[in-house]
Symmetry: C2
Subunit: 585 residues, 2 copies
Amino acid sequence: MRTHYCGLVDETLIGRTVTLCGWADVARNLGGVCFIDLRDHEGIVQIVAEPDNPAYAVAAEVGYEDCLRVTGTVRARHSVNDRLRSGRVEVVAETIEVLNKAAPLPFHAHENPGEEIRLKYRYLDLRRPEMQRMMRTRIRLVQALRRWLDARGFQDIETPILTKATPEGARDFLVPARLHPGEFYALPQSPQLFKQILMVAGFDRYYQIARCFRDEALRADRQLEFTQLDMEFAWVSERDVQDTVETMIREVFREVIGVQLEDPFPRMTYAEAMRRFGSDKPDLRIDLELVDVAEQVKGCGFKVFADWADHVDGRVAALRAPGGASFSRKQIDECAAHVAKFGAKGLAWIRVDDLAKGREGINSPIAKFLDDATLSALLAATGARSGDLLFFGAGPYKVVCDFMGALRLKLGADLGRVEHAWRPLWVTDFPMFEWDEEQARYVALHHPFTAPAVDDIAELKANARTAVSRGYDMVLNGNEIGGGSIRIHRPDMQSAVFDLLGIGAEEAEAKFGFLLDALRYGAPPHGGIAFGIDRIAALMAGTDSIRDVIAFPKTTTAQCPMTGAPSPIPDEQLAELHIRPVPKG
Amino acid sequence: MRTHYCGLVDETLIGRTVTLCGWADVARNLGGVCFIDLRDHEGIVQIVAEPDNPAYAVAAEVGYEDCLRVTGTVRARHSVNDRLRSGRVEVVAETIEVLNKAAPLPFHAHENPGEEIRLKYRYLDLRRPEMQRMMRTRIRLVQALRRWLDARGFQDIETPILTKATPEGARDFLVPARLHPGEFYALPQSPQLFKQILMVAGFDRYYQIARCFRDEALRADRQLEFTQLDMEFAWVSERDVQDTVETMIREVFREVIGVQLEDPFPRMTYAEAMRRFGSDKPDLRIDLELVDVAEQVKGCGFKVFADWADHVDGRVAALRAPGGASFSRKQIDECAAHVAKFGAKGLAWIRVDDLAKGREGINSPIAKFLDDATLSALLAATGARSGDLLFFGAGPYKVVCDFMGALRLKLGADLGRVEHAWRPLWVTDFPMFEWDEEQARYVALHHPFTAPAVDDIAELKANARTAVSRGYDMVLNGNEIGGGSIRIHRPDMQSAVFDLLGIGAEEAEAKFGFLLDALRYGAPPHGGIAFGIDRIAALMAGTDSIRDVIAFPKTTTAQCPMTGAPSPIPDEQLAELHIRPVPKG
């Protein structure tokens, strides 16, 4: 239907007759001549319909987004547009055919009319050049990853979408089984067990760009379904996996967006990341660090500090906001409100107006509780300078990390201290278990199939609280973009870990019997990792929202405004599936 | 953990020390020396443990499928095994480490213990070299397709798995929406509407290796979930699509299995395929063809023939089985039973023992009803020779095609007349609609979005019964491996087709409103195709069952013997989803 793409018509074609297909981006009549910007996925070219030509009558009636086919001759353009590849030429129309007339648009292709409307008319939204650019970034990312993996003998194997409910933390989506009344398939939260089984099955190196499903509350960066690059390796240790995928990520960033990431990535233990940044996914672009001040406030007059400084599981940490003395009271209140969302009971602060003036030079609601020695010690420990604002958090270790880590990110943004850079790192040596107060039992920090650092079952059981796992996360600019581990490959160790997690032998057999079986038949040592494709694509495309790199995302209320999913289903159809809806209320 | 792969150790490594990981394929003790065949995904190498070495004690205890790490020196082998790449060398073990001991196996890796057991212990089944070979064929197929498409600017875009119920013929799988009581997502039967929307959205050329879902009765070649290569092109006619994908399939067959398919593929209309082969997916490897004999039997004494020969929608067809005169009565009865499964009310036959002897030389239950002229005409029309068996079918046109087409396939196999070859073709000019007697309405032969050959709505409505669509199928050796069409891109035509299909304006708006909307905003002419990856992989791998090229398939009862899916779910969990199970019975 066409000889060339609109966006690629250039000076090499001057004098040639071309046939182009595209949408009317802009049509206007200037001095009796019709100009149409004709747009396809490659870009725009200017069409000219002159009054002495039959095409003029058609051109005069063209509206926004009409679908056209134009045949004409390429000629040099008087007013050059250097921002377009086609900006030095135009096409003098001989015929213009309206292939499909467009109704008046709900919004123009260059506008951004808000998320609900964008998703309802997603086909118009996606036509916007900015959306085309972001979607293409994702497409090129996936292509580059596949090419890299294929060239290295990784085998792309599909695992089932209709599978068994095996809770991995989040809620499963369920699918009633028509042939088996009262039974349900579940959509996979990840292909975790299948990829381990594939290693037992001798596939050696596996990958899959896999769709995963979690029926969770939707936040801005979550979708019901998401895509991960899932990988697994047989006969490996953690460094084999890490070195391989680090190289892959580095090469893919260079190829897709021309960015050279550090080589090698810095490495940090979980303990260090929590201590310095209050997060297991530290954003290293921000140069602020938490400082432990328990030693300095032990026995001080501010009871909250003194108590938590003495508590075995407590933490008292400070964060210096350079130049923060200029913060208004409102800004400080905003900081307090922010950390409250992350579990803080309060946020103490000291404004350092003039360090030389001692106690006179500071302003703080808590200063009156602190003697001179404590105050000096705190100023020294934090490296405070005149003009700074110091924040302090005290409480249970994990809670203080969470809210001070969140404060660090906020201050980084508010103070303009986020470096324009790409800062990847590995975080390693995660705790094997977390104690869940509500359930009064251990839960797995990664998942129940992660190997502990120790090989000895008795040793693991004796030191479960402090046990370290063989898990690792790849973090980029404060995002966990990949997470993985060496897996347990011995059935006795897997049973012991289930046991520590409060999963009894019977429950383990019912839920994970096939995994335990598989481990009994010569399972090789293995490990792997999974990368969040939506997030990496969003980072590469320079957008905060993964919805910009998903063709048809759901809203935060888990709906698709375009198709109207989800939707009611007739009772007869549900009866075939042996279910009935529960009336509301 | 290893320096080399087992299967790749060869003479270039003689004298070198290697470390290998793998499974003990066979272990045996011959004359006081231990031999272990160590196997990984690349193949097998022989390990030798000599009695003067500490590795001997370990080797003596090794059992089938134990997971080992072996370090040793490569040396030339006395008894060469030319079938193995490693067959001229062996590795003299210095250390053998048992990484994971295997329990006694339910079956040996070289056996095929039947489907149920194979699927229950899929990880052992997949270790068999034959399964590894077949799975690798699939992996290479998908890789080759992607590489071809990526190189040509096709854009790989993911479409949702959780979407809206929009019946396309088969039953939908449904997923209760937790946030929307009484509402359900559906799993897609194909990304059909999404890929059309992507064309409206300006993506120009799309592909996806897409998971699709149909809640249908399972036959040997069907799965609940299956994989298709889904493609769509904007601004194209059918030949653009066909020529592109024909080239792709030809190049991929050459690359993956070294087969050169015809260039170009033969083309055949639906009408011709039904007439000559009784099928819209004719297996051209079989040289038998149906012959219409209505003219010959008009007014003859065999009433069934005479009646159907006069019927406007009737067919009387013959099929010559060369050399079939040697069939026993039992074999003929089997043929009759076979066609009965495809709707035949009976199967007439004439055995031609000796053509020269006229009526004396034939044997047939219907001969007595046929006068000499009719008999001669039938023998002439079918090209009968001495030693042949002639079969005849009479009835409604479509029914006769179905059962005589099925008989043709059976005779092809029984008579050994299936050429060892690859015979692709295009089938085109399908009817737009089929009349459904039960529902007393038209149904779409492809799907409701397929464009008719005529552009004029009034003309389509006036001739709906005989209207031809712009659909096309790619057929290979009797399998429909791909099916596609040019789509309707004008909203008025789409509404007219919905109308002809008995889908009222309100229902159309409710189910397909977003498609009609999209067509209103400048939808370009577009078309595409989808290929069945499971089937093509099975053909390439030389297996009849697609389950051999799916890592974790379901049984014909829609279950997974390994994981136990589907499975019961606690009522509390269902209550969260606002559904309750309907008690059995």
